[in-house]
């Protein structure tokens, strides 16, 4: 890996080198390396670009990293990665995409990630998106995440896009069986003339299915964000979606919630709040000796922490 690729890897996966254990590393549209462990087997797909990740039942306290790095302007790719998680697992999956675009053509990575969780399995899925480079070409990422949770399974998805992604259309779908839980924590910051659209579609099918979708975002300068979420409660279940956005400068944010209770014991909540940083928050921090700009930075960093 060269210095640029190393920077991207650090940004999206907090890694300085090739990770230990199971991993798959994709650089400039090619599989640059992969490694399976005893319990986590990674296989290249035969028919499509992408990989299958098989996690053996009962695998605990293991992790798998699958970063994607693009440093070639004009590269466009669509990758399919499927995670087959056996029963009774407890694992961490770290994905992420970093693009360095120093050229004039758009670079684009679209990943379709599907998660199939067996009974009572627990997964923490961390995904970071990051862009850099001073070329005129745009950095574009359009991730699709589809989660199918078996009985009693639990998936917590932490997704972060803080810098450098010019355009993103993100779709996250979840189908939740009995006693299973799906949690999404999304953090998003847009600036310049960036655009981000994020959509959630969650179906609570089983008894005591549970979903909690939280999106915190900051829109600066002339950027635009659109948040849509739909939760269908088809059983005795509880679902909650929250969209909390700070707008600054001339930014625009829209939130469109939809909750459908298709069962008399479905309990569904949606909360959305969009507004500027409260004046009293700035004043409080200024009385501690911070300048207005420093106060603003601290408030945003905390909000997106």
């Amino acid at each position: 890996m060269d210095a640029i690729q190393k920077t991207l890897l650090e940004q999206v996966a907090d890694l300085h080198e090739i990770p230990e254990g199971a991993y798959s590393l994709r650089i400039n549209g090619q599989l640059a390396g992969k490694n399976s462990s005893e319990n986590i087997v990674i296989e290249k797909k035969e028919d499509l670009p992408g990989i299958d990740i098989f996690i053996k039942p009962g695998t605990k306290k293991e992790s798998v990293h699958i970063p994607v790095l693009i440093a070639q302007t004009g590269l466009k790719e669509l990758v399919y990665n499927d995670f087959h998680v056996g029963e009774d697992c407890d694992v961490v999956i770290v994905a992420g995409c970093g693009i360095h675009n120093a050229g004039d053509q758009d670079s684009e990575h679209s990943g379709v990630h599907r998660f199939f969780l067996g009974k009572n399995s627990k997964v923490k899925y961390v995904e970071k998106h990051y862009g850099q480079g001073d070329g005129n070409g745009k950095n574009i990422m359009n991730p699709v995440t589809e989660v199918i949770l078996g009985e009693g399974a639990y998936l917590e998805m932490e997704t972060t896009q803080i810098k450098g992604v010019d355009s993103t259309k993100r779709l996250t779908k979840g189908s939740v069986a009995a006693n299973a839980t799906f949690i999404v924590k999304e953090k998003l910051l847009t600036h310049g003339s960036q655009f981000a659209e994020t959509s959630f579609e969650v179906t609570l099918d089983g008894e005591n299915a549970n979903a909690h979708v939280v999106s915190r975002s900051v829109a600066k300068e002339k950027s635009k964000q659109l948040f849509t979420s739909r939760i269908d409660g088809n059983n005795l279940c509880s679902g909650r979606s929250e969209c909390d956005a700070i707008i600054m400068d001339d930014a625009v944010v829209s939130a469109i919630p939809e909750i459908n209770a298709n069962h008399p014991d479905a309990s569904l909540v949606h909360e959305a709040a969009i507004g500027r940083i409260a004046g009293e928050q700035l004043i409080k921090l200024m009385t501690l000796g911070l300048t207005e700009k420093e106060a603003e930075e601290q408030i945003i960093n905390g909000f997106l922490k």
Binding site: M286, T287, L288, Q298
Partner: protein, 238 residues
């Protein structure tokens, strides 16, 4: 020493909220009291720079701070514990104490400051300053931040409000400890007799003007007499 010279504040429609306030403060504990709407909080906001006086001068230790920003006054040694503390999504108690210190402080030190205001430190240090904290907890954190800053002038706007489970003796002890560190002035806006009772100087505001200034021996009997005739201190929160 804080000097207020002919401070007035009027609203856009010309109504005076404060008028011709002249005051010199150099004592340890100074209580500002008076009925609701008498201008106490407005005075605090003018000293801290949150509001700009319509007329007059504010001198802190010989330096004219009248036209300074909130930030510069904070740096010059003015601290303000709000009447209604502000909530922040995502920022923790530790974050705010660090900002008050001007640098990241060790967890142990943050815990000491929290313990001093009667909060079980380990439970609070990583809590977010959000809606999950009660008004009383936030008030204590507000005072802990003032302690961390330890500046020569600390203004506390009704510090006792909402801390009903915490004894006044503890609160008074906090102010005594604060003084022992800062050797500065602690200005407390309050209606509470027990707070007024520790004051070296009491300033009574009425309709935006100074009604009386003096020692507690001079002022307190009059306030208590007035309060007895009204059954309680006007606007008081007993």
């Amino acid at each position: 020493m804080l000097e207020l010279k002919n401070i007035s504040y009027k609203t856009e429609d010309g109504k005076y909220i404060l008028k011709g306030i002249n005051l010199t403060i150099d004592e340890r504990f100074v209580a500002i009291t008076g009925p609701n709407g008498s201008g106490k909080s407005t005075l605090a906001k003018i000293i801290t720079g949150i509001l700009k006086q319509s007329e007059g001068q504010i001198i802190l230790d010989g330096v004219d701070i009248s036209d300074m920003s909130i930030t510069d006054r904070a740096k010059a040694g003015v601290t303000f514990a709000f009447q209604q503390p502000v909530r922040f999504k995502g920022l923790t108690v530790h974050d705010l104490l660090s900002m008050a210190a001007g640098e990241k402080i060790p967890v142990g030190k943050a815990c000491d400051y929290l313990a001093e205001v009667g909060l079980c430190a380990r439970e609070y240090v990583n809590r977010e300053i959000n809606a999950s904290l009660s008004g009383g907890e936030l008030k204590r954190i507000e005072i802990a931040m003032a302690n961390v800053r330890g500046t020569k002038l600390t203004i506390c706007d009704e510090p006792e409000a909402g801390i009903d489970l915490w004894s006044f003796n503890s609160l008074i002890k906090v102010f005594e400890n604060m003084y022992s560190r800062t050797k500065g002035t602690i200005m407390i806006i309050s209606h509470q007799e027990r707070i007024l009772d520790i004051a070296d100087k009491i300033v009574v505001l009425k309709a935006g003007e100074i009604d009386a200034v003096g020692t507690k021996e001079e002022i307190l009997p009059n306030i208590l007499a007035a309060s007895a005739s009204c059954s309680k201190l006007e606007g008081g929160r007993n």
